[in-house]
Assembly symmetry: C2
C-alpha cells in the first residue's frame, strides 16, 4: 500500500471546543485517515499564551502564539477563537494562502459571511461552518444540500440552549426567570455574563446564518429583529400553559409573499408561544432543535444537544474530515449560492398571532370598551380568558393573525384606555395558523 | 452574462416519485439553474409504455421506451424504476458512460451497493441515493458527512410509515392489527399487497444501507435479521402501554464490542418496546424518524414525513441540484468509505431486554417455578405484572439485558414447563438500559 497523503491542519484557539478537536484529532488519527484518504496531521495550535498551564494532555510543542506563521504551514485552518478579530484577518489570510477553512464562528459568519464566501469562491477554497449553528445537530448541510431542490418556506429554531433551559424550567417547575437563570448559571447552562444568550444576540447571529442559507439570500445581522427573554414573566408562561402553549425563544426565518407577488425574507428572534402539540414544544432542557417547513419535503425536525465542547467538536471534525476527503479527491468547495437575493421584510410587516395580558379596571363596560379597541385596530380576538382577583380583573387574549404594526398601534391605544390599568405583557404565537 | 451551462438529465421511471421529479424540474427550472450554476435540462423519461395515458401534464415527446439510448445523451441519470433489474444494468451503463447517477432504489443499494460504489469511484462519477432511506428526511448525508469525525454507536430508525401508522393506531385507538391494516389500506398508508412493509422487508433494506454508512462497513442484506409486525397482538401493545412503553418497528444498527475487544456490527429489524419518554415514542402516524447516538455529538434525531411521492422527489432533487453544482465546479464524487469493514454480529449474540407474556397454569408454586426457570437461563427479571382472569393467571415480565441466545433457550424451557399454558408473545425492548 502507498504511504498515505498528509493533510496539515492548523488549529486557532484551544478553548472548550478547540481542546476537544485537538484531542480527537490525535486519538482518532487512524480512523480519520481511513475516512479522509489522508492523514490529518495537527501541525500546531495558536493561542494567546502558549506557556499557560492547560487542563489537557496536548503536547506542549504544538502550542504557539504565532498564528500567522502557523497558517502558512497548513492545508486546513480550523478557527475556534470566536469573535470578529483577529479571526476575520486570519481566515482571510488562510484562504488567500490557498488553505481550506473550517470555523464555528457564528459572529464572524453573521457579520462578514458574504465577503468570506466570495473570497473562498474566488480562490477555489472550501469554507465550512456547520458548527456555527446548533452545535452537533446537522442543519446547515441538510438545508444547503438535501433541500437544494426544494422550496423552504419557514425555519423555526430553538438554537440557544441557555434560554431553552431557563424557559423550560419556568414552564415545568414554575420558577421565576431570575431563579431559573440562577440555577442555569449554577449548573453551567449559563455563562457568568449571560447577556448574549438571554438578550437573544446568540440566536440572532444563528438566525442570520440560517436565513441566508435557507433562502439563498444575504440576510444581514442588523435586519434580524431581536428580543430576548428577560421580560418573560412567570405569569405569561402560566397564561400560555393554560391556553395549551409553551414559551420558547425562537429563531424564525420566513419567506413571505407581498401583495404585489414579490417575495421577501423575514428573520427574527423572540420568545414565542408554541402549541403543546408542536414538535418544538417537547424540546426540553438545554437541547436545541430546528423545525423546517418546505414545499415538497413538508415538515422536518432536527434535534439534539446544544453546543457543548465535545458536541461542537463533532460538527467541526465532520466538516474537517469531509472537506479533507474533498481536498484529496480534488475540486473546489461548492460555495454558497446567494443568488435569490430576496428583499428584507421589516418586523412591522410581519404577521403573527399574539397573547396579550391586560389588567382591567373595574369601570362598567370595560370589556366592551376593550373589544371595541381591538376591533378598531382590526385585530381579531381568537380566545379570551378573564380571571378575577378581588375587584381587579385580568384578561388574557390570544389574537388571530395581525401585523406587528397593527399590534403596536393596538397596544398604544390599550395603554391609554381608561378600561385598562396596565398592559402586562405581549408575546407572539408561532407554529399555529 | 454568459449563456449558462446545460446539464442534461435523463429520468428512468415516471411513477409517483418520477412524475413529481419531472414536474418540479420543469416548473423550477430557473431556480435550479441559479442554485446549480447550470440549466438542468430534462432530455427524456424512459418508461415501459410511452403511449400509456398518464395523469400528468408532462410533454408527451419526453417519453421513450429506449432507456439505453436515453442514458447516452445524459450527464445525469435519475433512476426511479425500483427493483433490481433493469435498474442495475442501466445504472452500470450510465456510470460507465461517464454520467453521474441519482437513485432512490433501496433494494438495489442494499443488494448491490458495493459494486456500484466501486464502479462510481473507478470512473470518478457521483452516485447519490439520499431518497432511498426515510424519504425527504436528510439522514444519509448527515451520517456520512456531518458525523464523519465522530464515532456512531447506534442508529434506531422508524423508517417505514405503513407499519408506524398501524402500530400507532393499535396503541392510540386500541384497534387490532387486522383492523388497523384495513384502515391503513383504505387511507393509502398501505399498498394493496402490504407484504414488503408489514413483514419488515422494506425496513430491512434501509437498515442495511444505514448500517453500511454509519459504520463504514459493507453490511449485507442477508445479515440484517428481520421480523415484521404481523405477529404483534393488541394484548402485547396494551401490556407495553401499561409498563410505560410504545411498540415501534425499528431498524437498529449497532456497534458492539466483543469480549476480545474487537468490534462488530449488528443490524436488525423487529417490533420493539420503546420507553414513552424516548423521542421515537412520539413519532405518530405515517411519519419517519431516525435517532442516532454518537460518541461526541450525543443523541440526535431526524424527523419528518415518510416516503410520499413529492417528499421523495424533494430528496432526489436535493441530490441532483447539489451534484449538478459539483459537476459544474469539477471534482469527482466523494464515494463511500467502507474501510472500517467490521465483522457481522449475529442476532443470537445481540443483547437486549425482553417483554415476555405468559399464560400461567393454576399449579401451586407456578410463579416460583417460572422464576427458577428464568434464573437457570441467567435471564434476570426487571418487572413482573400478574393479572388474574378467573382461574387463569397472566404474567407480563420485562427482563434486564440478555442475549437473544439465552432468550431462545429460556422460551423453549418455558414452553415445556408445567407451570405455563402458553408463551403468548415475546417483544424486545430498545432505547433503554
Amino acid at each position: 500500500m502507498n504511504e498515505p497523503r498528509i493533510v496539515r491542519v492548523a488549529l486557532l484557539g484551544a478553548g472548550s471546543v478547540g481542546s476537544q478537536v485537538a484531542r480527537l484529532l490525535l486519538e482518532q488519527a487512524d480512523t480519520f485517515a481511513q475516512r479522509a484518504g489522508a492523514r490529518l496531521e495537527l501541525v500546531g495550535i495558536a493561542v494567546r499564551d502558549p506557556k499557560r498551564k492547560r487542563d489537557t494532555d496536548l503536547p506542549a510543542e504544538l502550542f504557539t502564539d504565532d498564528a500567522e506563521t502557523l497558517i502558512l504551514q497548513a492545508d486546513f485552518v480550523i478557527e475556534l477563537m470566536g469573535g470578529i478579530e483577529p479571526a476575520r484577518t486570519l481566515i482571510t489570510q488562510a484562504l488567500e494562502s490557498g488553505a481550506d477553512v473550517v470555523t464555528a464562528n457564528k459572529a464572524l459568519l453573521a457579520n462578514h459571511g458574504p465577503e468570506l464566501f466570495a473570497l473562498a469562491e474566488r480562490v477555489g477554497a472550501q469554507l465550512h461552518y456547520e458548527a456555527a449553528v446548533a452545535g452537533a445537530i446537522p442543519i446547515l448541510r441538510p438545508l444547503r444540500e438535501n433541500l437544494a431542490g426544494d422550496r423552504i418556506e419557514r425555519v423555526l429554531g430553538i438554537v440557544n440552549g441557555t434560554t431553552n433551559y431557563i424557559l423550560d424550567r419556568m414552564h415545568t417547575k414554575g420558577d421565576s426567570f431570575e431563579e431559573s437563570l440562577r440555577i442555569a448559571t449554577e449548573l453551567g447552562y449559563a455563562e457568568a455574563d449571560p447577556t448574549a444568550d438571554i438578550e437573544g444576540f446568540d440566536a440572532q447571529h444563528k438566525a442570520a446564518i440560517l436565513a441566508s442559507i435557507a433562502f439563498h439570500t444575504n440576510v444581514k445581522l442588523e435586519d434580524v429583529y431581536c428580543e430576548g427573554i428577560t421580560g418573560v414573566s412567570i405569569d405569561q408562561i402560566n397564561d400560555a400553559k393554560r391556553a395549551g402553549f409553551v414559551v420558547k425563544l425562537l429563531a424564525i426565518c420566513e419567506r413571505a409573499v407581498e401583495a404585489s407577488g414579490t417575495e421577501s425574507v423575514s428573520a427574527r428572534v423572540y420568545p414565542a408561544l408554541v402549541p403543546e402539540s408542536h414538535p418544538l414544544a417537547s424540546v426540553h432542557g438545554g437541547n436545541n432543535a430546528v423545525f423546517v417547513e418546505s414545499a415538497a419535503a413538508g415538515s422536518l425536525m432536527f434535534y439534539g444537544a446544544g453546543a457543548g465542547g465535545v458536541e461542537t467538536a463533532s460538527a467541526v471534525l465532520g466538516d474537517l474530515v469531509t472537506a479533507a476527503r474533498r481536498h484529496v479527491l480534488g475540486g473546489p468547495g461548492l460555495g454558497e449560492s446567494m443568488d435569490a437575493n430576496l428583499p428584507h421584510r421589516p418586523i412591522s410587516e410581519v404577521d403573527t398571532r399574539f397573547q396579550i395580558a391586560l389588567a382591567v379596571t373595574d369601570e362598567p363596560g370595560a370589556l366592551a370598551k376593550i373589544a371595541t379597541t381591538f376591533a378598531e385596530h382590526a385585530v381579531s380576538i381568537a380566545t379570551l380568558e378573564q380571571t378575577n382577583d378581588g375587584d381587579r380583573a385580568s384578561l388574557v387574549i390570544v389574537t388571530h393573525r395581525a401585523t406587528e404594526g397593527a399590534l403596536q398601534a393596538l397596544v398604544a391605544a390599550l395603554e391609554s384606555s381608561s378600561a385598562i390599568h396596565e398592559v402586562q405583557g405581549v408575546l407572539r404565537v408561532e407554529g399555529s395558523n
